[in-house]
Amino acid sequence: MAAEILAEGVCYQYSQSSKMALKDVDLRIRKGEFVAIIGPNGSGKSTLAKLFNGLFVPTKGRVTVDGLDTRDRENVWKIRQKVGMVFQNPDNQIVATVVEEDVAFGPENLGVPPEEIRKRVDEALEIVELKDFAQKPPHLLSGGQKQRVAIAGIIAMRPDYIIMDEPTAMLDPVGRKEVINTVKRLNREEGKTIVLITHFMEEAVEAARVIVMSEGRVVMEGSPREIFSKVGKLKAIGLDVPQVTELAHRLRGQGLAVRNDVLTIDEMVECLCPLL
């Protein structure tokens, strides 16, 4: 049985809508990967996320998690335990009135014995670096901290895959950094598979693979370098590129010999030094 999330020919249509939100999406997310999904609003990113853990089931085609079909209602709890979800609004996913109680919510639902829950909660709070906040009421936390509580709540369920649906969209730059650092650590140190949906390009750059969606379809797929070197194409579908990437692109257009796949300031400095 393959350890992966697989979408095959997936279409999805909302019941109130006449338009297809997703059209023939084929995707494979392997265990241990860090994948970013980018695309303008309404491109189907969030819909896709909800198909990964069986919140939605495909109108056509199928989604399987480690070989389990999400259409099969018997699999649904197994799938949700394997595939954790973090949503956009940090406020609306915290259930309990105390941080540690909230982190315990998932394992409690899974019927984990109390001592084991305690252990998992402490571990999860350790990983997101919120140990000192265990007894705090969530409304006193900053946005970034709340989002990390939400992540801890997912980690405590011991999922293999964590899907994040624009987890930083409502955060300030500090909160965004906190969350992205946590996400990177989860992937590198804890070996969790991460699917990060975002429209901040500097976050997508951190992933190993970037998937670009537009109007319900996957339109590009590749490493951040491959994707962001296509400045014109990205702009055409309403996406941004990091400033330095755009600068490199423009300078090439002016005949300067710079690489077209520059992602960071330091790379750009390296590129430009011999020329100036």
Binding site: N41, D172, P173, G238, Q243, V244, L256, V269, L276
Partner: protein, 284 residues
Amino acid sequence: MPIVVKNLTHIYMPGTPFESVALRDVNWNVEDGEFWGLIGHTGSGKSTLIQHLNGLLKPTWGEVIVDGVNISERGVNLREIRQKVGLVFQYPEHQLFEETVEKDVAFGPKNLGLPEEEVTRRVKEALELVGLKYDEIKDRSPFELSGGQMRRVAIAGVLAMKPKVLILDEPTVGLDPRGRDEILGQIVRLRERQNITVILVSHSMEDIAKLVDKIAVMHKGRMVESGTPKQVFKNYEALASIGLDIPQVTHLMIKLKNKGKDVATDVLTVEEAEAEILRAARRK
């Protein structure tokens, strides 16, 4: 219409154990027609400061003088001040409440007691200013619109008050790049057409650098810096020390300069950086 902030201090819940100082001795002059960017971390006092400018909050000490009127004075008509200083809060679409877009945008002008024809005229104008077609959208429920459209309707609701100063608290948060560019483009156009004063609160240094004439930096309740973008970003070490970024291209030029390259560092946009690097490369 100038706004003068003098020695403004604001303390939340004074005299209680929850007392907290949100603003300390802030001085700020906003001249007629200027475009200001207000930056700083969450909790740095930005929100408290802008809520003073239209009298939603009153100074604990100090003065806020809007168009010559001190807002703390007795008998001041706060409604008039709120009409002159329009404030668009974060996620303004959360305050939509009417059955139709037209009624919602009309809420402000109606509260001003304007005659009906004038209200309709203003609604039309405001919707067009935010790039929406009055005839197409006026009878729709605001709750059926897309996120970006909702936000524009909400902004129109403030524009319909015909403010002379427009304050926007992170008007692009949560939008995708295209939605963001649309809103920012409309703000620029609005300024061109009506020559109003704009104060833009934003976390995006790139946007701020591209748009504004002057920047004010808040940190822990104090205004630690103010001036033109070039002046403020030149002090990037000071900004970095309070955890604020500078635009990527500005950062790039500073790094090049530090490597001994002969480039100007007062670069704010991709276009400027392009020109500067080309210049430097050709010189070589």
